[in-house]
């Protein structure tokens, strides 16, 4: 089994979102960056598969040198090697194109990504990689089982679940459920030591088209003050929901 896990490097969930340079750029000062939470589920799933079937796990990221801390963490958790494609990940089709170009040279049996990056929330890169490689794509994947070459997957659908079957190679975009949160792997001391000796290859990005450009950001309008209602007067709430909020 040759597994690729695509990993994005994102601001921690508690980060304060601030922009600089006339609101054209995310202000990363003072922000802690972490492995995208959805990708953590994917990486742990890859470890489970490797432990039961053997194989290798490569982790890949499109990013500048700052993302290497996240790749090192993935190596410490148990990935065998890491690849950083050296480019600023400004556009989903650009990032997906680079990852697909790399994956296309490696014959991976399985590609695992997260459902979306928690910073830009594009939900775009996984499907695009699958389309470039012409392999099946399962979004919001919450279950994956392999029996010989036959994969059985569960995906989350609006208000339910769907079970699917297919043959490798394929790409799954995962989230909680792929593995349980209590099973998420964290780096152990031994892993951290071993990670230092594992290969982290830097590839130069090829020239590819971009399809979007971010002009600037705005912060949502601040909420006005909260109207407090006495716990003994819930009728007032019902009244306000009807006449002021107009929702009932």
């Amino acid at each position: 089994m040759k597994i690729l896990v695509c990993i994005s490097h994102v601001p921690d969930t508690t980060s304060k979102i601030v922009f600089k340079n006339d609101l054209t750029e995310f202000d990363a000062s003072g922000v802690t960056f972490v492995m995208n939470p959805y990708d953590e589920f994917g990486l742990t799933k890859a470890m489970h598969i490797k432990e039961s079937l053997g194989g290798t796990i490569t982790v890949a990221n499109v990013g500048l040198a700052v993302t290497e801390s996240t790749l090192r963490k993935a190596l410490a958790i148990g990935a065998d090697d890491a690849v950083r494609i050296n480019a600023e990940p400004t556009d989903a089709s650009y990032v997906a194109g680079l990852l697909a170009e790399y994956a296309g040279t490696q014959n991976f049996d399985l590609i695992i990504t997260g459902r979306e990056s928690i910073d830009y929330n594009g939900g775009a890169v996984p499907g695009m990689i699958a389309a470039h490689l012409n392999i099946p794509f399962v979004n919001a994947c919450i279950g994956f089982d392999l029996n010989a070459e036959q994969a059985t997957m569960i995906r989350e659908i609006d208000g339910g679940k769907e079970t699917l079957q297919g043959k490798l190679p394929l790409l799954i975009a995962g989230q909680k459920g792929l593995v349980e949160e209590k099973d998420l792997r964290i780096p152990a001391m031994r892993g951290i030591m071993m990670a230092r000796k594992k290969p982290l290859t830097v590839l130069e990005a090829s020239d590819r088209e971009k399809h979007t450009n971010v002009l600037d950001y705005q912060l949502p309008e601040e909420k006005g003050a909260c109207t407090l209602i006495d716990a003994d007067d819930v009728e007032q709430l019902v009244q306000l929901l009807h006449s002021e909020a107009k929702v009932i």
Partner: protein, 322 residues
């Protein structure tokens, strides 16, 4: 010029989000001086009704091989129609199925993909549009760099209008290719009779303050009298009090209903990230310092076990009057 909008159906029936998408497409078409064509795949309802939401014409695909949803063949079908009618712009709603096809269409057509769209474009030339980002903690203004684009619309962000108009319809002969290896759908498990969370206008949600799963009877009753969907905070689904599919927040489902009622939820930043786009937020919490009150429109400082029964009966009597 034509805009193609995919009007998704579930078990043959259109979803509310499909009407929103068609209406969005029609309004965008007006801005661009274009026509609106809707596409339906395996829809069993009268498709001319899509005219009410602004489609001039509808292309229908009915093929045994497309009876069940498959993201690869559905994306290919949409691309075939878009190519046939020369549509540069494809509109999709970001339902679970929409999310599984939009990036495929974008990559195969070399189109710009803009997801989480909440408004009509600011300008159509150059094409400039805003989308939600950073878990709704920011809004980003994007420009597309290619003429072809796929726009994926957040459910519940548009109010659609109904027009006195019916659409013409025409069958589109499409036979899915067998060449690529595809997935087979084995089974679908859908909670029936319940209101879908992402599309719901009203959502009642509860957190660890409810103490135990047995206390959800009153949460469900409140949801029922309101006609609302139910949701929960992450720890509640982690402990298994509620199914994971109800977990909202940064690492769960992001929603933007008209009304979100949060009961016994503290309002942690990761929870707010998934619900702060709700138009109206009501918070019921015993702790006056709970951070959720800062994000709320209406608040009751009180014990859920006392407030909920009163609220349920107050809504019942309100509903009885109207």
């Amino acid at each position: 010029m034509t805009i193609l909008v995919y009007a998704e159906s579930w078990d043959g029936k259109f979803k509310k989000s499909s009407f929103e998408a068609v209406d969005y497409a029609a309004k965008l078409a007006k801005q661009m001086g274009a026509e609106t064509t809707a596409l339906t795949i395996s829809a069993k309802e009268d498709v001319s009704q899509l005219g009410k939401y602004g489609a001039q014409s509808v292309r229908t695909i009915n093929n045994q091989a497309l009876e069940t949803f498959n993201n690869q063949s559905y994306a290919d079908a949409i691309i075939a129609v878009a190519n046939k009618i020369n549509a540069d712009t494809v509109i999709i709603s970001n339902t679970s199925n929409g999310k599984a096809i939009a990036p495929l269409i974008a990559a195969k057509r070399k189109a710009a993909l803009i997801t989480n769209v909440i408004e009509l474009p600011e300008s159509v030339s150059p094409f400039t549009i805003v989308r939600k980002t950073f878990s709704s903690k920011a809004i980003a203004r994007y420009q597309t760099l290619s003429d072809k684009k796929v726009i994926s619309i957040t459910a519940n962000s548009f109010e659609y209008n109904e027009r006195e108009q019916l659409a013409t319809s025409e069958a589109f002969d499409y036979v899915p290719e067998d060449a690529v290896q595809k997935l087979t759908s084995i089974s679908i498990n859908k909670a029936t009779g319940k209101i879908g969370l992402t599309e719901a206008d009203l959502v009642v949600s509860a957190g660890r303050g409810l103490k135990g799963p047995e206390n959800w009877t009153m949460v469900e009753e409140l949801a029922e009298v309101l006609g609302a969907a139910t949701a929960c905070s992450k720890p509640v689904s982690d402990i298994g009090w509620r199914p994971h599919s109800e977990h909202v927040g940064q690492t769960g489902i992001a929603i933007n209903p008209q009304l979100y009622i949060a009961i016994g939820i503290s309002g942690a930043i990761q929870h707010l990230a998934g619900v702060n786009a709700s138009k109206n937020i009501v918070v019921i919490n015993t702790d006056p310092d709970a951070p959720f009150f800062k994000a709320a429109d209406y608040g009751i400082v009180g014990d859920a076990f006392e407030v909920l029964p009163k609220l349920i009966s107050a809504i019942k009597s309100y509903k009885a009057v109207i």
